[in-house]
Amino acid sequence: MGLEAQDVSVTIGQTAILKGVDLDIAPGKFIALLGPSGCGKTTLLRVLAGLQEVSAGTVFFEGKNITIAKPSERNCGMVFQSLALFPHLNVVENIMFPLKKLDLTKSQRLDRALSLLEMVHMVEFRERSMSMISGGQAQRVAIARALAQEPKLLLLDEPFSALDAELREELRTEIRVIQRKLGISVVMVTHDQHEAFTVSDVVGVMNEGKMEQVGTPDSLIRKPTSSFVAKFVGQRNHISCFYREGGLYEAGTNNLVSHSCSSLKLSPYTKYDLYYSSEAITTMGQVKADALYYRNLGGRNEICARYKEQTIWIHNLWNGQPDRVSFGVDLSASFIFEANDDD
């Protein structure tokens, strides 16, 4: 009995921000909400926090309906994207602040604040003002403060977006260690696929206010259930194509994409969207792309090429550095979906 959102919708004015979102998070799990900007992931997080009213749907936490419960009645802590540390208080005062709402003496509050600071390795900075600590240190303080009231659910709104890559990696690991140690559930919003996949047990991919797919990072990579998920989780190259006897052809040109598609049960003359990674490139095809430039990533040669309106990255399987390449796609390492009519 963890956190469950059922058919949650949020409409602000005439705009539907969330459209019937379902989410089920088991206790003690780390879930990332992944999606492009404006897809509704922060709104969903605010719904879970109680900071955003729902237009429809229900939210349960540990079996209790908390849809209309106040934020303070939900037993959850939150780290905002801006961190929202109180600038008029120093480090330890920031952490002691939420403890004022608990039945504790001042010395008990101080003890708990210091133990939280110890957990995030910030004890020696306890007297510093907010303007005297770095971005990474502020991040640690924000996490410690969010944990001060011992919440069972921790909500993180793009917490690492303002940090450099090395610090992000360090703090990701740290937050995961803290989550395991405390046994709490964590929901983290991010638009960074690498971040979502490295830190989470489960990832929910959102698009245009809907939950496209929820699953482990592995299942999202191996079995995306929609063209959006396939594209968003890494297979970013796309070809619009159709099937006819003998193979898969590029729509509009009849250039061969792949011969070996008999096992896919495709319908003749139906339009399909094919998503493929750099590794799925073969020389056995007629799709044409103009090479823009070349790069070598530790022995792996790649071409940055222009294919129609797209910039694509493909393996350089050709001799030298040709200006134009003709390629095909290995369908066993790609994903194919019937195209939407609107496309």
Binding site: C76, F80, A84, P87, H88, K101, M130, Q149
Partner: protein, 287 residues
């Protein structure tokens, strides 16, 4: 060489500003000082000699000290009351959608375009028995035997606060709008009520702009005399009314001496306020 060159360049670029300040501020103040220290009824340029007579008269007569104390207290009261009214209104406006917020800003700026004289006359009408509120309330049967609500201290205080509110809101709106909304969201999640959030988070975070606005209101109102003279009784008049009266009666040296005393008192109050509240550092990133 580079340092010397850059110093020269700095001097050259700041020279016009220095000259401007000298012409518009330093020279007039020197002229006023010379007047203040001249014999009553004459000025130095009219052949009068140097004298402390004007200041002696001010300091020997406790009346002026009393009026000064009254003026400073009144202006502090006006500043505090204005901030108490303006702060919540500004927070409400800052949370409005862009269109409504812009509309309010235009209205506030428009109200600032009205002069103190016009505002005072308008309020004289509003508070008069013949065509203002007392008359209307009496005709509705809500008041009996009402009198005009001006002149008097309450009318003067009301209009001074009314006149100061748009100034305070225009000053407070940018920092209030920039304040990170997640600060109050965080406190609400911790279980603090809206009043607690205002008291424990919003006001302390905004203390620097609040202090600056209060200071500006204090400075603006200390020098004002139109509202005080038009809506208050003589016993309610502020110090600057006396300065204006002596100017009108051509006793310029005494008026200037009074103005200098007012200036020194303002500098003293501002200095004390700055030492008490102004030096606290507020992290501008969070505001």
């Amino acid at each position: 060489m580079t340092t010397i060159d850059s110093r020269k360049t700095n001097l050259l670029t700041t020279l016009p500003v220095l000259l401007f300040v000298l012409l518009t501020s330093v020279l007039p103040i020197c002229f006023l000082l010379s007047n203040a220290f001249s014999e009553s009824g004459t000025s130095l340029d009219q052949g009068g000699g140097l004298s402390l007579e004007n200041f002696r008269e001010i300091f020997y007569d406790s009346y002026y000290f009393g009026r000064m104390l009254y003026t400073v207290s009144l202006v502090l009261l006006v500043s505090v009351l204005t901030l108490i009214v303006a702060m919540p209104l500004t927070i409400v406006i800052a949370r409005l959608k862009n269109f409504w917020r812009s509309t309010w800003v235009v209205l506030l700026l428009a109200s600032l375009a009205l002069s103190e004289v016009l505002t005072a006359y308008a309020w004289q009408i509003i508070l008069s028995k013949s065509s203002g509120l007392p008359g209307w309330l009496e005709s509705l049967g809500l008041l009996t035997d009402s009198n005009s609500w001006w002149p008097g201290f309450p009318a003067m205080l009301l209009v001074l606060v009314y006149f100061s509110i748009p100034i305070a809101m225009v000053m407070l709106l940018p920092p209030v709008s920039r304040m990170d909304g997640s600060l109050s969201d965080t406190a609400r999640m911790m279980g603090f009520s809206k009043i607690e959030v205002l008291w424990r988070i919003t006001l302390p975070v905004l203390r620097k702009p609040i202090f600056q606005t209060g200071l500006l209101l204090f400075l603006l109102n200390t020098g004002g005399f139109v509202i005080s003279q038009q809506l208050g009784r003589p016993s309610d008049w502020m110090f600057s009314v006396f300065i204006a009266d002596f100017m009108r009666s051509f006793n310029v040296p005494f008026a200037v001496a009074l103005a200098l005393c007012l200036l020194l008192t303002v500098v003293l109050v501002v200095g004390v306020a700055y030492l008490a509240f102004g030096r606290q550092d507020v992290d501008s990133r969070a505001v």
